[in-house]
């Protein structure tokens, strides 16, 4: 077996940039995915039919096409369509955020519907306005019910973020590709990338567990 991790040591400082990029990327697409997912979920439970229909169609499109195609569509077609020279990072966050919003909105919608209808009635009977009922009574309970699936979504985003290496974002995987190109050490490069992703996923998992533990104080 031919292994030589010594050859990759000079490139390790650069790995830090790759990891930072991966994290930044995951963070912003999670934020965008969650924020837009919340709006979409409300759209989906809206009594106003055209809105609800839009929500459904949106989800159907983003779930029915490959993420990689969405990414390329946004990255390569945006300059052509709107004349804006979108950066790889922006395109990535946008594609991943829009995509994960479709999934997140489905879980939140399920979470909202799973809240006992007595909760809404009790709040209504107290004279609480609709918007507040959603914000303070239904939503917190819905989020609590679906916290595990939100954490999973964020983990999926972290792993899928490696796709942006394809359009040239200097993330963890991109670092490994460049390392391989320069040193011809494929195994060393990619196993390091794999370990990095694994450690990050484990860290996210334990953050998720801690969040769930805190959400359970009222149980």
């Amino acid at each position: 077996m031919d292994l030589d991790f010594g050859r990759v040591i000079p490139y390790l400082p650069l790995l830090k940039n790759g990891i930072t990029m991966t994290l930044k990327f995951t963070f912003w697409s999670t934020i965008l995915g969650f924020a837009w997912g919340v709006v979409l979920s409300l759209i989906k439970v809206s009594p106003f039919k055209p809105l609800a229909w839009f929500g459904k169609a949106y989800t159907s499109f983003f779930r029915g096409t490959p993420l990689l195609v969405q990414l390329m569509l946004i990255y390569f077609a945006t300059p052509q369509l709107v004349g804006y020279n979108i950066s790889a990072m922006e395109a990535g966050v946008l594609a991943f955020g829009l995509n994960s919003a479709a999934y997140i909105s489905e879980s939140i919608r399920g979470g909202i519907l799973s809240v006992d209808k007595g909760q809404r009635e009790a709040a209504m009977a107290l004279g609480v306005p609709k918007l507040w009922i959603m914000k303070d009574i239904i939503f917190p309970q819905a989020i609590k019910n679906i916290l595990p699936s939100l954490v999973n979504e964020s983990i999926a985003l972290l792993k899928d973020s490696s796709m942006v290496a394809i359009i040239g974002v200097g993330d963890t995987l991109r670092w490994a590709q460049q390392l391989q190109a320069k040193t011809f050490r494929a195994f060393e490069a990619f196993i390091i990338a794999a370990v990095v992703y694994y450690v990050l996923v484990m860290a996210l998992t334990s953050i998720g567990n801690e969040l769930e533990r805190r959400a359970r104080v009222s149980d």
Binding site: D116, G118, Q119, E121, A122, A123, M124, A125, L126, G127, V128, P129, W132, D136, I137, P140, Q141, K144, V217, S218, D219
Partner: protein, 240 residues
Amino acid sequence: MIKIQNLSKKFKDLVVLKDISLEIHKGEVVAIIGPSGSGKSTLLRCINLLETPSGGQIFIKGKSILDKDANPEKLRKNIGMVFQHFNLFPHMTVLRNMTYAPMVVNKLSKEEAEKKAVELLAKVGLSDKTYEYPSKLSGGQKQRVAIARALAMEPEILLFDEPTSALDPEMVKEVLEVIKSLAHTGITMALVTHEMGFAREVADKICFLDDGYLAEVATPEEFFSSPKSERAQQFLDKVL
């Protein structure tokens, strides 16, 4: 205080309330009884517009609540409701359950709302549960908190929908005691219940609902000793 005229309610094709007329005076305690499915809950829920009546009129303090410009949220501030399954907010402490609506709806400051909540909790005998979450309470305790939560809005009307039906038998009494302590203190009460002894003891008026009709309105003495309708007699034979 509450005047119901020719009220009807349909769910799709199912007619649940039929031509109901009833007046409840200020400070009065009215018990609504009748077989399961006769429309008791629906009648109660029409009063605070949790259900929208299909026909007829409801006046509260002389004002129609079905007018176009009537505001359901404003109406409900003045009408407390206690549910069979308590419906406490599980993600809020007992204190927060009680201060939430007064702060959001009545714009009370946190201090004012908490002061009142603490008083009310003492009144229902649950001061030691102030900072607990509902999941830590027994059924009877939950229902007492739910009553206190309704009272925190200082409503003029209180609606109870089978407040003791979901309780273990040994907890029924503590809740009935609390309800009894509120009766005839000026607050107007409508109470759906299967506790006939309690209805007889506390109510000024018994309303017997049968298959969507208000079959009989009588004083407890009249109703329990010599009900006018045959259906009421049959019902009493079954439950007493």
